[in-house]
């Protein structure tokens, strides 16, 4: 589904990602962990199509096409979803309207007819339950006045409505208390399926107690220095990241 080959990325002339190789198959959940400043969020942004990131070398292929040829909205319509680390407040635009525009843009891209207001409303009500999102937040402007936890839940709610093929969660766990974390994780687990893949970007192992990944990769200084199964995350929790710096670089799976 997604294949990164020797990906090098710079921002304002500074190289952040220094040769990433990664392969994600349908239905897999990959966790990308690493210390602050290792390039985790850069990776998420590049995949979502943020334009200020320059790909200086390497390739990204998504479902067999060159992802770098597609702008951000086309990527979204092709099934890529980014849950933001810092969801943006959009004063004046209601959450429901925003989502309906997004969903209908995606449906239009797939050659489907737009959902009418009634059908859409029953859809969002059903999906809001998955992340226990207060229905009042549907009518409010997007993220405006939402608590930190509500913003993160709203991201997962958007994901549930838009049903992406590849969902990238950028530090969705940060700033969440344990109850909110559980709700978010349950939301993600409910959406796991054989044809949907996830990239979980996180600083902490904690999230992985609730969303069990198939693979864990450790990103340090712009490179994947170690890949393994879930046990790698537990080892990181025990020992931190320092021991990896001392050991020779392992090949990525």
């Amino acid at each position: 589904m997604l294949k990164l080959n020797n990906l090098h990325v710079s921002v304002d002339g500074t190289e952040i990602l220094k040769g990433i190789d990664l392969s994600i198959n349908p239905g897999e959940v990959h966790a990308i962990m690493g210390p602050n400043g290792s390039g985790k969020s850069t990776l998420a942004s590049v995949l979502a199509g943020r334009e200020e990131y320059e790909i200086t070398d390497g390739e990204i292929s998504y479902s067999g096409t060159d992802l770098t040829e597609l702008d951000a909205e086309t990527r979204a319509r092709e099934g890529i979803f980014l849950a933001f680390q810092y969801p943006v407040e959009i004063p004046g635009v209601s959450n429901t309207y925003f989502l309906r525009s997004a969903l209908n843009a995606i449906r239009d891209h797939r050659g489907e007819t737009p959902l009418d207001a009634m059908d859409f409303l029953s859809l969002v009500k059903e999906k809001a339950k998955i992340v226990k999102l207060d229905e009042k937040l549907l009518k409010r402007p997007v993220n405006e006045g939402f608590s930190g936890g509500e913003k993160k839940r709203n991201e997962i709610f958007h994901m549930a409505v838009l049903e992406p093929k590849l969902a990238i969660l950028d530090e969705t766990d940060s700033g969440l208390d344990i109850d909110a974390l559980r709700i978010v994780a349950e939301g993600v687990n409910a959406l796991r399926s054989d044809d949907r893949s996830f990239v979980l970007i996180t600083h902490y192992q904690r999230l992985l107690n609730y969303i069990v990944p198939d693979f864990v990769h450790v990103l340090m200084d712009g490179k994947i220095v170690r890949s393994g199964g879930r046990e790698l995350a537990l080892q990181l929790e025990d020992q931190g990241y320092d021991w990896l710096e001392k050991e020779p670089v392992a090949a990525a799976v």
């Binding site: 943020r50 909205e73 979204a76 319509r77 004046g92 309207y97 925003f98 525009s101 843009a105 402007p141």
Partner: protein, 437 residues
């Protein structure tokens, strides 16, 4: 060249208004003479004058304008179905287009000329009170020359449920013309009404110099919308003044969409404790349009509140000037005043001069002011795009949302929808954005 020459050569028909209303009182006559004297001595202001620094009237001063004659127009695009309507064409009352309908007891809605010619004494009594002619040369020009305009009087406790719709239509001809409508709104204690002051045009090089006066007695509650959508060749130079008694409320929204050059001065005075004025506005300009808003709010008594939120959306090579002044008199303690001017630039060629000012002579007050000029938030645009919404739609949606904070305050649905239509027309994918609200 003396300024007096400028004044005389630019308007033909100066002092035409003097004595034009049969039976107008000596007070009114004296007011007109004063207006004439002021305008003749100041003339068309040049950009050397501080408050005209960014608005250049050279083109106006060098173009002779003749007094606009009687005219009629098709007002159907602007009509509000269920309202008390007065229509003025080129500053002259049109009985044929007006439809005041049935009024609640104690309410007068009539042409000002009728009120001044002896019908209503109070009109003459308050007219011009609080209008600073010296600092507003075009108000002086209006005072000397107005032929007619609207007169609204609400007696004690009167409540008008339907909106009062005042349409001022400017009908141009093949030569430059000018007109000077004068409106006087007098609300006695605890009266209530919603008033729409609506300036429209049919085309041609025209100059409109309206003056509108609000006199609010204690407890009066007036909602006001001022929609200026004159034709694109026109100039519109207006003054709105308000004087408010104890616990009165004036909620005014000004929408500036039309005209090549629009200048609106608002002088608001809060003269007794508990008075509240909210003076919000939106200007929506493109191409080479120039819009200039000058607001002075004077807190002359303690415990008054004022709120100003002005938003601007500029495209093309348009230009906006915003000059907001809050003056707090000595002794006006517990004043609560907020002023904010926010501008959204949609093009590289647009320009804003925003200058909020505070003059505070009391020590126990809460006054805030601020202004911003910027483009759409790229992070917000990216957020929308990352969910599948195309760039043009995302930008329109965010622009529409920016305006919505002002537009949604308008309680008269036809006027709100008109304004929404202006927004939709200016934005790519505007129809889509509109559905959001």
């Amino acid at each position: 060249m003396s300024t007096a020459t400028t004044a005389a050569s630019f308007v033909d028909g100066l002092n035409a208004g003097i004595g034009s209303i049969s039976g107008e009182s000596e007070d009114v006559l004296n007011l007109r003479l004063e207006g004439s004297r002021v305008f003749t001595s100041t003339g068309v202001p040049t950009s050397k004058k501080e408050d005209w620094r960014f608005t250049n009237l050279k083109g106006l001063a060098s173009t002779p304008h003749e007094l606009a004659g009687p005219a009629t127009a098709d007002i159907s695009p602007w009509r509000i179905a269920d309202s008390h309507r007065l229509v003025f064409a080129n500053g002259r009352y049109s009985a044929e287009l007006s439809d005041v309908g049935e009024l609640p007891e104690g309410v007068t809605i009539s042409p000002l000329a009728v009120a001044l010619s002896g019908g209503v004494e109070r009109a003459a009594f308050a007219l011009g009170k609080g209008v600073d002619l010296t600092n507003h040369p075009f108000a002086a020009l209006n005072t000397a020359n107005f032929l007619d305009g609207a007169f609204i009087h609400l007696s004690r406790g009167a409540i008008v449920k339907k909106p009062i719709h005042l349409i001022f239509v400017t009908v141009g001809i093949d030569r430059p013309t000018w007109s000077a409508p004068r409106t006087m709104i007098s609300a006695d204690s605890t009266s209530q009404a919603t008033i729409v002051e609506h300036y429209v045009g049919t085309g041609g090089e025209t100059l409109t110099v309206p003056v509108t006066e609000f006199h609010l007695a204690p407890g009066a509650n007036i909602k006001h919308v001022r929609l200026q959508e004159e034709s694109r060749e026109s100039r519109h130079i207006a003054l709105q003044t308000s004087r408010q008694g104890r616990d009165s409320r004036l909620e005014s929204v000004a929408l500036n969409v039309g005209a090549a050059l629009a200048r609106t001065n608002i002088d608001a005075e809060l003269g007794a404790p508990g008075a509240h004025a909210s003076l919000d506005g939106l200007y929506l300009v493109e191409d080479t349009q120039h819009t200039d808003t000058q607001i002075k709010v004077r807190h002359a008594a303690p415990h008054c509140t004022s709120h100003e939120l002005y938003k601007g959306i500029l495209d093309g090579k348009s230009r906006a000037v915003f000059n907001g002044r809050i003056v707090v008199d000595p002794g006006a303690q517990k004043t609560d005043a907020i002023q904010s001017n926010r501008n959204l630039l949609l093009s590289a060629g647009a320009l804003v001069n925003s200058n909020p000012q505070l003059e505070i002579l009391a020590d126990d007050v809460r006054c805030t002011h601020g202004s911003t000029v910027g483009r759409l938030d790229e992070e917000a645009v990216f957020y929308l795009r990352s969910r599948g919404i195309g760039r043009a739609t995302a930008e329109s949606l965010l622009t529409y949302a920016f305006a919505a904070e002002i537009v949604q305050q308008i309680t008269v649905s036809e006027i709100r929808e008109r304004m929404e239509r202006h927004l939709v027309e200016r934005l790519p994918q505007g129809e889509l954005a509109r559905e959001a609200f």
